[in-house]
Subunit: 107 residues, 2 copies
């Protein structure tokens, strides 16, 4: 049995060389529960738990939660666009966001 959340937690935990016990201790959780998150489904943890685990593992909560498949290749064009976008004033950014909502093809 494998879930995106479980796989991410396990991979990150191993990458840091943590045991279940160690991660549980750092994330103020329990060994049994961390194991359940990694191996049992469906996992439905609280935002609080996820935030703590994410902090310990050095990633964002959004990364752990997000179920959509991640694109492996970094798109330089996208990042360049975002850099430009961030410098725009609030009203313009709002316009762009609302327009993107209208064009949005991701459900």
């Amino acid at each position: 049995m494998s879930t995106p959340l479980g796989d991410k937690i396990r991979d990150l935990r191993k990458a840091k060389g943590y045991t279940l016990d160690k991660l549980a201790e750092l994330a103020e959780s329990s060994k049994s529960y961390i194991w359940e998150l990694e191996n049992k489904n469906p996992p439905r943890p609280s935002a609080d738990k996820v935030a703590k685990i994410a902090a310990v593992l050095g990633v964002t909560a959004d990364y752990l939660i997000d179920t959509t498949e991640k694109v492996g290749v970094e798109d330089a064009t996208d990042n360049a666009f975002f850099r430009k976008y961030r410098k725009m004033d609030a009203a313009t950014k709002d316009k762009i966001r609302r327009m993107a909502d209208l064009l949005g093809d991701d459900e």
Copy 2:
């Protein structure tokens, strides 16, 4: 009674002109529960609920959860937008980028 999470949700909800019912519907939750998150403490929602609410409100889950106020609303909104943008297909992204160029108020 006021909590950081509750205040953020209420502020963002009002800014979008949503009622409790509307937000509940969009976030696949219930009116009563949204109200509890806004007004009752301690709120300890599931990561799933927070992720859905954050998506509807156009911010990251991290922004809603994180108590350490290092990330502003604007940053969270921008990041959430970029995450959405990245998932769009190339043609749509191109449209948005060209549109942003037209609206661009810098240089």
